[in-house]
């Protein structure tokens, strides 16, 4: 995949929230129609549809896999449809697939979509789904693993190695919330403090409930095409300029001490090299963290901070907040935005486009030229960095 072979020309999003009375296809209609209208194309210009998995929703997933979408919403020019599942790393993989479809002539204009509706699913079923998704059924699950527990253990180790306090860690959800306060599509928007975070219920030490994400409903869609077509039909297309990914092992016990740090650095280096840019060029880091831990880890990976301690301080001092030196995670991450399964990467991708198109409202970062985002699957089986910009 080389530089600038794909452009995003339209976005649509249903705010992340809790909609027990709303049908999942209602979310799909609204997000897809909004993206097509935003792109200024006719619905029948869409030649391909690529779906992300509906994690934990087998019925919806099956409907998407077996091609319901183009028929349901009447995309009469659709030539083919497929689903791509890479867990939390799906958004980047859908873009890879779209790039291939476009460059090999399978389809000129493609609709990418994600939809999730958890609010009408039994909470015990959801807990079980996420306790087993991406976990080893033989070597992890029998011991009572949960995602909260997995990240809690990694957080404990990070705090131990870097001499970080609970108060310092609690500044990270606060940093996320500063952005969510400005985001009409976020689920939790009330101002948050370190004290408030630490006063919430302990879920899995050292994580309080305010440091764990909440499952939510939501949907997003993007219209993508070649740069050549994008220039003709869109006044401010967003181009993918670089991308790098690395696999890090599926089971946490298989990840040796330096493996993840090394793989993360390699993935980022590949993305920067392909884009011909450096961390200093980035106006925003859309860091998909899901929990507080990954934010300082990624700031170290990307060379913004020299170690975990410095990274946590960098966050606590407000450098990643609105108006800060280096805006990060401008949708408030899954902690404030709500966690829509494989959809958080989508929410970040839509936000990346919004910021680069200058449509981010109160969150708009001025003169935003380059944005880096990341996504990862499972409990961290891989890491993908992508760089987007307004110019090729």
């Amino acid at each position: 995949m080389s530089k600038g072979k794909i452009a995003i020309v339209g976005i649509g999003e249903v705010p992340t929230g809790w909609y027990p009375d709303r049908h999942e296809w209602d979310i799909i209609y609204d997000s897809c129609m909004e993206a097509v209208r935003d792109a200024g194309i006719d619905k029948n210009d869409v030649e391909g549809v690529l779906c992300s998995p509906a994690v934990g929703q087998p019925k919806l997933d099956s409907e998407l896999v077996f091609g319901k979408l183009p028929e349901e919403i009447g995309l009469k020019g659709c030539k083919d449809i497929a689903s791509v599942n890479a867990g939390g790393a799906t958004s980047a993989n859908l873009l890879r697939m779209a790039e291939h479809w476009i460059n090999s002539g399978i389809a000129k204009i493609i609709l990418l979509m994600h939809a999730t509706k958890y609010s009408s699913i039994d909470p015990n079923y959801l807990i079980q789904t996420f306790a087993t998704a991406g976990m080893s059924m033989e070597w992890e699950y029998p011991f009572g693993t949960t995602y909260n527990g997995m990240i809690a253990m990694a957080t404990q180790r990070f705090m131990h190695e870097n001499n970080i306090t609970a108060e310092e860690m609690a500044s990270i959800p606060v940093a996320f919330r500063k952005w969510a306060e400005l985001d009409p599509n976020a689920m939790f928007r009330k101002p948050l403090t370190v004290e408030k975070t630490l006063s919430t219920r302990m879920i899995s030490t050292p994580l309080h409930s305010m440091e764990c994400n909440m499952l939510a409903d939501g949907g997003a869609a993007l219209v993508v095409t070649s740069p050549e077509i994008a220039k003709k039909i869109c006044k401010n297309p967003v181009y993918k300029l670089g991308e790098g990914g690395r696999y890090c092992q599926a089971t946490v016990t298989q990840r040796t001490d330096d493996l993840m740090a090394r793989m993360y650095r390699e993935a980022a280096a590949v993305a920067f090299k392909q884009a011909g840019l450096s961390i200093k060029d980035m106006n925003i880091l859309e860091l998909y963290c899901a929990y507080p831990l990954l934010m300082p880890v990624l700031l170290v990976t990307l060379g913004v901070c020299k170690d975990g301690k410095e990274a946590v301080r960098f966050i606590a001092e407000g450098n990643t907040w609105p108006g800060g030196k280096l805006p990060c995670s401008t949708i408030g991450d899954a902690l404030s935005r709500g966690h829509t399964g494989s959809g958080v990467g989508f929410a970040y991708l839509v936000e990346t486009v919004r910021q680069l198109m200058g449509k981010a409202g109160d969150r708009q970062v001025k003169n935003c030229k380059y944005v880096m985002m990341n996504c990862a699957g499972g409990s961290g089986m891989n890491m993908i960095f992508e760089i987007f910009g307004r110019k090729l």
């Binding site: 080893s136 029998p142 011991f143 253990m153």
Partner: protein, 135 residues
Amino acid sequence: MSEYIKPLPVIKPWSKKFWEAARQHKLIMQKCNDCGKLIFYPRKVCPFCWSASVGWTDVSGKARVRTMTTTIAGVEQAFIPDLPYVLAIVELEEGVRMMTNIVECRPEDVKIGMEVAVTFRDCTEQISLPVFKLV
């Protein structure tokens, strides 16, 4: 033995011996007969050199706590009676890491770096889970 309601390991053909030994309260590891490396979790072939000649070796069962969490809420119903429980990653003397529980202790007493030793939780007539206790 009262009925065990928590999930049991879903066992692959090549890990059967591990679980048979665990039922006898013995911790064993796969070892490649060609490259000599210890293999955990068990594989059909050695993941380092793809040798099909993989055997088994006893390990000490001595380990250190690499990291841990006290699980307090947000678990499946089957685990609720166990709350709070300590979920941990331990590193065996031999260098292998395992997901496990630290048992027979107050959760707040478990710290990173502590020495632990294997013990076994008898779940069913066939399955005993290797868990660890502080030494």
